[in-house]
């Protein structure tokens, strides 16, 4: 079955530390990959997406993600976090060029200490 895994449920780090959140999906074929962020009390917002081309994609707020097809992974990174990056981060996948259904990972709660 199609599934998405996020390795860490909770991450605590200090401001200026680097962040990397892991995401793996169950199998290949055509995939469309997304990272969403949910700040406290707010809706899910799209951070970045990958459809094709350069496997290193840049998103908003200094985030980037790298698609590694051989590892079925799409890890999210930010070189230097800020307190305002405290949020829950969700990896999501659509399979197939015509796919509409988003399959989500379990989310990772990130707490950045000032």
């Amino acid at each position: 079955a199609q599934s998405v895994s996020q390795h860490n449920h909770h991450v605590i780090l200090s401001e200026a530390a680097s962040l990397e959140l892991g995401c793996n999906y169950s199998y290949g074929g055509t995939v469309n990959l997304f990272w969403y962020v949910q700040y406290p009390g707010q809706h899910l917002q799209l951070l970045l997406k990958y459809f094709s081309g350069d496997p290193l994609v840049k998103g908003i707020k200094g985030f980037e993600a790298e698609f590694i097809k051989s590892k079925f992974s799409f890890n999210l990174r930010k070189p230097s976090v800020q307190w305002s990056d405290t949020a829950e981060y969700f990896c999501a996948v659509k399979w197939g060029a015509a796919g509409n259904k988003l399959t989500f990972g379990g989310g990772t709660r990130v707490l950045v200490k000032p």
């Binding site: 055509t30 995939v31 469309n32 809706h43 917002q45 509409n100 988003l102 989500f104 990972g105």
Partner: protein
Amino acid sequence: EPEVTQTPSHQVTQMGQEVILRCVPISNHLYFYWYRQILGQKVEFLVSFYNNEISEKSEIFDDQFSVERPDGSNFTLKIRSTKLEDSAMYFCASSVGQGGNQPQHFGDGTRLSIL
């Protein structure tokens, strides 16, 4: 920036009662979705809707659930006879087009509590 809006933000309902969750998608979007997240679990796809028809639904979306676009702006999810296990956060989303490369834009969610 245009947003998907959902009402109410919190709905408390007795088990067995019908509940309608409302969503106003972004105005030029044509594809609409409902997802839910039971506390402590993953966000799960329920249904997608286009051109006044369901285009895809999950196994969760059984006969107790229905969706409707009653007018040009609203998109509703109805649960006919609620169960305790329907307690969850329900998210509405919309997209301009279909297909893998179309991002979905989400509302703030409705927290549904079944007593």
